[in-house]
């Protein structure tokens, strides 16, 4: 049995999902030969450290760590001093300066700890720097959950489609926008009403700017461009137009002629803009779904679809990254 000691940084929706999924899947993971032990959790209120492992039951009922924290260590101090080998970084994203996640990731990688994250900001701001830091320290930086939530994309390209040259990726990478556009098309709602509904259902943030202005999609395009296409681009290199100008009339006209309107991100074109998608296209998914078409030289076009957000769904992508770090030798290393 391989014991893996994990520090979790960030205890919001995704952080809860991570704790939940690790406890729920304990038996299955042990059958794989992995004993994932959560030895610390840090949020903005404090840190909980338990050398023998934190049980999900103890913490899942608490929205923050305020009442159960047993240390005042900051996230960086925790990463430095707690005996762990992997850091799961799930603090809120900031695509301007990448903090606080960027600092956490640098600290972890420099200390020789693997990093698994759903936090886009640090990767948008400093992907190449972080990748180099990981390589120099002989550890891994895994970020499947940053792009497309639970929809497999990066691992699919790097592992399953290995041998192909990836010509491009085009898709729907924001569930909030997709929900709004779907409701506007189905119900002829104006934008404001569809947005209000998405907020009521928890699909959109109180400040939905990142989603509806296309910022979130553009961040994902930057990550794909840097990670899959080695492009070394920044957020400002992406041409971005969001969905706020879309009207129910435009959606009705599109429908009448066999199309839906979707917010589409494209790489290596580096564009995010509303586009007409034929109703029968595999990209024409509704509700909060994400979808991505991967254009390859050998396998043709592969389209994947899946839930783009949600605590447990995102945590599933994080778990898959964690397992992939440790199963390397058993499953697909080249001997």
């Amino acid at each position: 049995m391989r014991e893996v000691r994990i520090s979790l940084v960030g205890y919001g929706v995704v952080g809860h999902g991570v704790v939940d999924v690790i406890s729920r899947k304990r038996k299955m993971l042990r059958e794989l030969g992995l004993d994932l032990k959560l030895v610390s959790i840090t949020d903005h209120t404090g840190t909980l450290v338990e050398e023998d492992g934190i049980s999900g039951e103890k913490v899942l009922g608490h929205r923050t760590l305020q009442e159960i924290a047993n240390s005042e260590m900051s996230a960086k101090e925790t990463i430095r001093s707690v005996n762990s080998e992997l850091v799961v970084e799930v603090t809120p994203t900031n695509i301007v300066h990448g903090q606080p996640g960027l600092g956490h990731m640098e600290e972890a990688l420099a200390s020789g700890k693997h990093v698994v994250t759903s936090n886009k900001g640090p990767l948008v701001v400093a992907y190449n720097k972080l990748k180099r830091l990981a390589d120099d320290n002989g550890v891994m930086l895994k970020f499947e959950a940053t792009v497309g939530g639970t929809m497999p994309l990066i691992n699919l390209i790097e592992r399953t489609l290995v041998g192909n040259t990836i010509l491009g990726i085009r898709g729907i990478f924001n569930g909030t926008c997709n929900y709004i556009l779907t409701r506007m098309a189905d119900e002829q709602y104006p934008f404001s009403r569809a947005l209000a509904e998405a907020q009521e259902l928890g699909y959109a943030e109180a400040d939905p700017t990142y989603d509806i202005e296309g910022v979130d999609t553009a961040a994902k395009i930057v990550i794909l461009a840097n990670a899959i296409f080695n492009m070394n681009v920044k957020y400002n290199d992406v041409q971005v137009r969001g969905i706020t100008e879309i009207t129910p009339e435009a959606l009705a006209l599109a429908k009448k002629h066999g199309y839906v309107i979707k917010l589409i991100g494209e790489v290596p074109a580096l564009t995010v803009r509303p586009m007409l998608v034929p109703i029968r296209s595999p990209l024409a998914v509704g509700s909060t779904l994400n979808a991505a078409a991967i254009y390859t030289d050998l396998s043709g076009t592969i389209t994947v679809t899946g839930l783009g957000a949600g605590g447990v769904e995102t945590a599933a992508a994080i778990l898959s990254d964690i397992v992939s770090i440790y199963r390397t030798k058993r499953v697909d290393a080249i001997f």
């Binding site: 009339e249 006209l253 074109a269 803009r273 586009m275 296209s281």
Partner: protein, 167 residues
């Protein structure tokens, strides 16, 4: 009558002028010339597509003259629109002179707006227009869409283009 011609030119200077001379001699009005430099043939020649306003009866003579100059005439005949694309415009489509928007495409000679429908919810609200554009080839379509994007930027219209099947 509007005619289109597909020629193959040697990749040496002066070939295009040589190709245009017989058309001028026949008093043809050249509407557009598209050089497909990126699609060189295995023989090393460069495909060129011309759109010409000319009396059809003069076509055979022009073809003969071109071939005499060593230019390969792959196809010549009535102009055919072979590419079609749907586009939706959102904004003050009508107030920003829809007629002008359409004629910016139509006046290219290689593309035209063939279908147009409008949806106007209220006086001060943004309206939406669906248009189908057709063009004589893929490259011409890309040019027409580029013009439409520029017009959209000038007139503050959102131009929603279709995703293509391939990249």
């Amino acid at each position: 009558m509007r005619l289109s011609m597909e020629l193959e030119l040697q990749d040496v200077p002066g070939q295009l002028l040589l190709a245009l001379q017989p058309i001028r001699d026949a008093r043809g009005n050249i509407i557009s010339v598209v050089h497909h430099r990126d699609r060189k043939t295995p023989r090393g020649t460069v495909p060129v597509r011309l759109i010409v306003e000319m009396d059809r009866s003069k076509l055979e003579g022009v073809k003969r003259d071109l071939e005499k100059s060593g230019i390969v005439v792959v196809r010549a005949g009535e102009e055919r629109f072979i590419e079609e694309v749907s586009v939706i415009l959102v904004g003050h489509v009508l107030d920003s002179d829809l007629g002008d928007t359409v004629s910016r495409i139509d006046s290219t000679g290689y593309a035209e707006v063939m279908d147009l429908s409008l949806s106007m919810p209220g006086v001060d609200e943004p309206s939406s227009a669906y248009m189908k554009i057709r063009a004589t080839g893929k490259e011409e379509m890309q040019r027409a869409l580029k013009i439409l994007r520029e017009v959209g930027a000038q007139k503050k219209l959102l131009v929603i283009e279709p995703v293509e099947d391939d990249l």
